[in-house]
Symmetry: C2
Subunit: 241 residues, 2 copies
DNA sequence: CGTGGAGTTGAGTTTGGTCAATATGCGTGG
DNA sequence: CCACGCATATTGACCAAACTCAACTCCACG
């Protein structure tokens, strides 16, 4: 878990060792939030941002009719709500999909350090821009891909993202979420998630049970999902200068 | 059109008069791009960002099977691809949906000015974060709203955004796009756009013909779309400090 | 054991997609 | 000014994907 803090800082591309150390000094104590709890309520005006050290956090919006759409998923190593530094009022909620460990950084501190360290500010900016790229990819999936392919794409993305923080490997990773969570991410019904997963399973592409995902046939899974990790690798490879 | 440049600078919240002037000095000559042309190709590595002064630009991704999804729409007054400053490689294309006028700012200049003027950098960061908020709202629509409501939401959003830059008023605005463009924004087929528009028209909510949109019943349109402009007004009202 | 939450499955319905025909509107060349 | 041709809009008939409702299974946990 301490590793994860290091990884989070590590990938702040373009920030100096000094910058990272300064930011690290601002990070508060880790806090546990239990599954199902809301970290930040829609409409609230947070004064801290958080680094996710363990578990999964979703940005969720509730529709009037009771439906829920998850517009983003954070994995350990992510800054979960950097954008709230710039946008005062939350336009969605942050929900713990599993038991979760987060460490807070106050906005006041962030503002100070950003003004003093442009390289660091730019690195944080970049994090939010990458979130945006992931978002666009989800949008693309929701708009133009059938259910099974959306799920396939989600598993591809999660594998790459989790692998990048050492939480996946050998084509497997822990994913202790429900099918209903997945449904709210890919914009289909729970029942249809179930059926689509069955298809993927029968095609020998992947399995997801007992909270663990196993990708049996990466090549074909990525193919049907038209998964191109460019939008994610940005997080690992691109540099400013 | 000169107004629009001013508006673009104006809404850089938190930037000083000095900051704005410095940025203004970096803006290159306006350039016309004709309808259908690609401003930035997916996979390219742009070295400029652009301010949109006239017309509509879409961020579009093409699927293997020939489908297209528009993951964002820019209106006059928008910075169209600020994020490319942080992410070297375009993961989607920028397409002119109408004849368009843009003014470029080089990334090199932007980087320089950002390092020198943290307030300005933060304001630009904020622009990209607002783009992200709009994106989430679209995601929500694609995931959980039926076709007619998606369109209703799109019209509500466009009205508010265009009004903010003086290009709408009295519940009407120019929208010289095709139904096919709309289809690619809301993730349904062209035919279904047509049918859904018919429904909205018959319910007396709006009309869209001859390139002009007229909202006849804002209250009910916003109601069925569950349109809450908070995510947009951020662009006008929130401040940093 | 029994209870509750999640997963699975079937039956029937709804929404939206596809294909194809027709209509409308506008710009160009005669 | 008119006829033609192209692009867009509109409509109908049919099809497919996904949804809803409801039953039933499978576990984990007390």
């Amino acid at each position: 878990m301490h590793d994860l803090m290091a990884i989070t800082l590590e990938r702040l591309d373009g920030a100096s060792v000094d910058d990272r150390a300064a930011l690290a000094a601002l990070i508060g104590d880790a806090r546990v939030v239990f599954e199902g709890r809301v970290l930040l309520e829609e409409g609230s005006r947070p004064h801290v941002s958080m680094i996710l050290l363990k578990g999964f956090v979703a940005r969720a919006s509730i529709l009037n009719e009771g439906g829920r759409q998850i517009s983003g998923l954070n994995v350990p190593g992510d800054f979960v709500d950097l954008h709230s530094l710039l946008l005062k009022k939350m336009d969605h909620s942050l929900v713990a999909l599993t038991d979760v460990v987060v460490a807070a950084v106050s906005h006041a501190d962030l503002r100070r350090i950003c003004e003093a360290r442009p390289q660091l500010m730019r690195a944080l900016w970049r994090e939010t821009v990458i979130d945006g790229a992931i978002n666009r990819e989800w949008l693309l999936a929701l708009g133009r891909r059938p259910a099974a392919e959306r799920l396939a794409h989600l598993f591809c993305e999660l594998y790459v993202r989790l692998k990048a923080v050492g939480l996946a490997g050998d084509y497997r990773f822990d994913l202790p979420l429900t099918q209903s969570d997945a449904a709210d991410m890919v914009g289909i019904s729970t029942v249809h998630v179930n059926r689509s997963l069955k298809t993927l399973r029968q095609e020998g592409l992947l399995e997801w049970k007992g909270g663990e995902a196993m990708i049996h046939d990466w090549r074909n899974l990525a193919r049907i999902a038209q998964f191109d990790p460019t939008y994610l690798q940005a997080r690992l490879t691109t540099s400013w200068a």
